[in-house]
Amino acid sequence: MTILLFGITKDIVGSPTLSFPTSSVSGKRMPNTVKELKVYLGKTYPELNKLSSLAVAVNNAYADDDHIINSYDEIALIPPVSGG
């Protein structure tokens, strides 16, 4: 699973992308929904939990918390940005 990071999420993680090994390789259970993914990432990067509005896109479409995700999906974290 590949996650593209934008705005402040890229700064928090320190890289423009994150890759998860699939569960068959890692043996760990993968997040199944957008909500689970947020919780999963929030454990590794607690600062992500501070964001009050964080848009998550799955395959280039905005996805709600209960949206089901698969290991071959392309996911993007797009927080609001404010500069002008």
Partner: protein
């Protein structure tokens, strides 16, 4: 048809009708910074009939790397005045409406009402959410642009039944969540790219050409030269806003009284005033007004003992922004103080008493 616009009129998909639509349209650009300037320069060049300019900042030296309409000689001038002068020289046929203030809760509806389209070229969340809500209430589309480092976002919100800013980001981030350009930095060319894309969407919206970027967020990554488009839908509840919120800026619970540098100068000449300068000691050392007491913003916890709290206290900084924040800080603990911000700050004062 005007020979001036021949090169766009000759485009098959544009033509004389689109040019007439531009001439009849009224566009408000909120913010005369990195995004707002390229928007204005292109809309003005292309023949948009009425342009509204809105900002109350003055030009600062560190603006010049990205706000390319301004020159070194403009440092210290009000952006509104400097931008207006240059845009008038660029196109004498345009009608300019000048709004010498920031967009705030109390003026938003009255200002926006008289325009067809709003361009959000601001640099902070409270104003972006205010523009969104006011545009939803007045049923106006707005062209959104925002930056973060090497990245830029563009979308057209509230276009017909299309989604709004709140459909993408329902809740306003708090102050410390997401840094702005002042704190995070921005590469000079980025606002030029994003502002130009906003100008393009404005022209498409006015003329009906092409596909408007409604229901899509365009994310530009300058380091990878990559555009990503994210689709999103309207949440009907966000289209039902009927009134503005009581407050947008979390610190904006009270209006900060302010005085123009000119009026401040004439008061200085007439009476002995109380003045706090909240700049850093280095800035203060460089040049300050003789009656000023230096208390840097981050050290300002309470008023000095010798200040008379029943009399007016003026607060100044370099441009007027930190002093406004200082007043909000002081008002939180002491709401009854008679505090007054010197608009334009020392930059403006230096032009009055060189």
């Amino acid at each position: 048809m005007d020979a001036r616009y021949a090169r766009q009129i000759q485009l098959k998909d544009f033509g004389p009708e689109a040019q007439k639509k531009l001439a009849r349209s009224r566009v408000l650009v909120v913010g005369l910074g990195g995004l707002g300037l390229p928007v204005l320069q292109y809309l003005n060049a292309m023949g948009v009939g009425t342009l509204g300019l809105m900002d109350q900042d003055s030009v600062e030296l560190h603006n010049l790397q990205r706000q390319v309409l301004y020159s070194e000689v403009d440092v210290g001038r009000m952006k509104l005045e400097a931008a207006h002068e240059k845009l008038m020289a660029q196109n004498t046929k345009t009608t300019f409406r000048l709004h010498d203030s920031f967009l705030v809760r109390d003026n938003a509806l009255d200002v926006i009402r008289d325009y067809d389209i709003v361009v959000d070229a601001t640099d902070n969340f409270p104003t972006r959410y205010l523009i969104n809500d006011a545009c939803v209430i007045l049923n106006k589309p707005f062209i959104y642009g925002a930056l973060h480092g090497f990245e830029g976002h563009v979308s057209v919100f509230n276009h017909k039944t299309g989604p709004t800013y709140r459909c993408l980001y329902p809740n306003m981030p708090s102050f410390d969540e997401v840094p702005n350009c002042d704190e995070n930095g921005v590469l000079g060319v980025l606002p030029g790219i994003i502002g130009t894309l906003q100008a393009l969407e404005t022209v498409k919206l006015i003329t009906g050409m092409g596909e408007v970027l409604s229901g899509k967020l365009l994310v530009f990554d300058g380091l990878q030269q990559r555009f990503t488009k994210i689709g999103f839908n309207t949440n009907p509840k966000n289209k039902k806003i009927k009134g503005l919120q009581e407050h947008y800026d979390p610190l904006d619970c009270r209006v900060v009284a302010s005085i123009s540098a000119e009026d401040f100068q004439s008061i200085r000449e007439q009476e002995k005033i109380q003045l706090i300068d909240v700049r850093t000691p280095d800035e203060f050392e460089g040049r300050h007004l003789e009656e000023a007491l230096n208390i840097p913003l981050d050290a300002l916890k309470s008023l000095p003992k010798n200040f008379k709290t029943n009399r007016k206290i003026f607060v100044i900084c370099e441009s007027g922004k930190r002093s406004e924040r200082a007043i909000r800080q002081l008002q939180k603990d002491c709401p009854d103080l008679n505090l007054c911000n010197v608009a334009g700050g020392m930059l403006k004062m230096k032009t009055l008493c060189p």
